[in-house]
Symmetry: C2
Subunit: 81 residues, 2 copies
């Protein structure tokens, strides 16, 4: 199983570092707070099914739900100021 | 082996349909002509290694070079007016 950081560095980083197409940027508290307010369950559901410009599973089709959850938690942890 | 259309519909489409982050849009001749002018070998090399906002292999890490090439050819074929 990959860590949240590993999954982030392989997949999520492509859009979530620079904020492609409105993706909440890594380390950016303002971008992340409204997402955090939705709750982790909703974020995970949206990440699995795809949401706005984000493709299903962030194109990590062999990611388990837990791996996606850990990647989201990694981004949330790093968005705290 | 996946067809170019299958690979496109699973991976490339996420950015290349709406033109996320400057990606040349599917079916858009003006977007594609400058890329076509570079030649297929250069396009394939850039797609494999990543280029500007495009992540390596378009995040299809289990794509063979041939599968990526066919996906590019599928996009080129569909950009012709």
């Amino acid at each position: 199983e990959r860590s949240g950081e590993q999954t982030f560095n392989t997949y999520c980083i492509a859009c979530h570092m620079s904020g492609v197409a409105g993706a909440p940027r890594f380390g950016n508290h303002e971008d992340w707070q409204p997402r955090i307010d939705k709750g982790l369950d909703t974020l995970l559901k949206d990440a699995i099914s795809g949401f706005r410009a984000m493709p299903p599973k962030g194109l990590c089709f062999d990611c388990s739900d837990d791996e996606l959850k850990h990647a989201i938690e990694y981004m949330i942890d790093n968005s705290q100021q």
